[in-house]
Symmetry: C2
Subunit: 161 residues, 2 copies
DNA sequence: CTAAATGCGGATAATCATTATCCACGTTGT
DNA sequence: ACAACGTGGATAATGATTATCCGCATTTAG
């Protein structure tokens, strides 16, 4: 098993966080988001589009286009972001070693599946408890107001509509 | 984040399971283990050596050599196998996006670290509860005795010492 | 109506961790 | 001495993730 925050999910979370600073109806272009967070602009576009497909973000095409939140920060769970980026693929799939070892016919027997399901659900429950709004609170607690205001200023400068 | 049973860990668990069928002092060679489970023999050797380094298995070099358990099935947690193969690397490490976004100086501030630590520990607690002995019980419940006896017969045929 | 800015989607390359192979060596038993 | 086996290192092959490119559709500005 492996528990790892892939940069795709992490970047997405921060991109959404950035969009929470936007006033109603305003949008931020993909380029602005990626330059603000640093990282590959084109890959960022891919991530943003996945978030749009998952209905977490809304996108506005055309000149003066960009992205904004489609749900409130309270409605967006970290889990939702994870699923949007990584897909809801069942996290554990037996490689069939068990069957080979015992020469089993019954494909439904898997020794580790129970364990993995338990691990999976305990892990999901944690990601489902935390929302973007929760993280925003954390930011307000952990960050110097100065830096936060600078970020907000940048967002307001770069936003359109 | 990503929760996935890599084949290395899975194979290791099953290899250990196989070794539980050995009588005291007997060993099974790496080749026998890998042909029994199917999979790359050379990679299996790598895995087995990691398990030896982690003190889960003992190895006997030379002709008539091989591997056997160094601990009882009750003492080997799935978590131990995981750590032996994957290492105890802290599972989440911030990529620094947060700092870039907010222009922070303090390297200790990370928004997602708390969340990830919580997920990590909840996940570990589950892997620490389950031992090889637990899985052996599962096998006895889930598997036809016939297949199990065939496997045991094979092991006794191939073991040495 | 044209042009520029932007999101969209597909094809494709680069990167990185995992998995797999090979080889020279040390040890043990025959 | 020889054969069987584990050890350790160097090095490929594989596969998933990340990154780039390009042509197209849509909207705003002039």
């Amino acid at each position: 098993m492996f528990l790892h925050m892939k940069t795709g999910v992490e970047q997405s979370v921060y991109a959404i966080l950035l969009l929470t600073f936007l006033p109603e109806k305003a949008v931020l272009s993909g380029d602005v988001i990626s330059t603000q967070l640093g990282g590959s602009p084109t890959y960022f576009q891919k991530l943003l589009r996945k978030l749009v497909s998952a209905d977490l973000l809304a996108s506005v095409p055309g000149s003066k286009g960009g992205f904004r939140l489609k749900k409130t920060p309270e409605e967006i769970r970290i889990y939702d972001v994870y699923v949007a980026i990584e897909g809801k693929q069942s996290l554990y799939s037996s490689s069939g070693i068990f069957h080979d070892m015992l020469n089993l016919k019954d494909k439904d027997i898997c020794l580790l599946s129970d364990l993995m399901e338990e691990a999976e659900s305990s892990w999901q429950s944690i990601l489902k408890r935390q929302t973007i709004a929760t993280l925003t609170n954390e930011i307000n607690k952990k960050c110097p107001k100065e830096n936060l205001n600078m970020l907000k200023a940048t967002v307001e400068e770069k936003m359109v509509l």
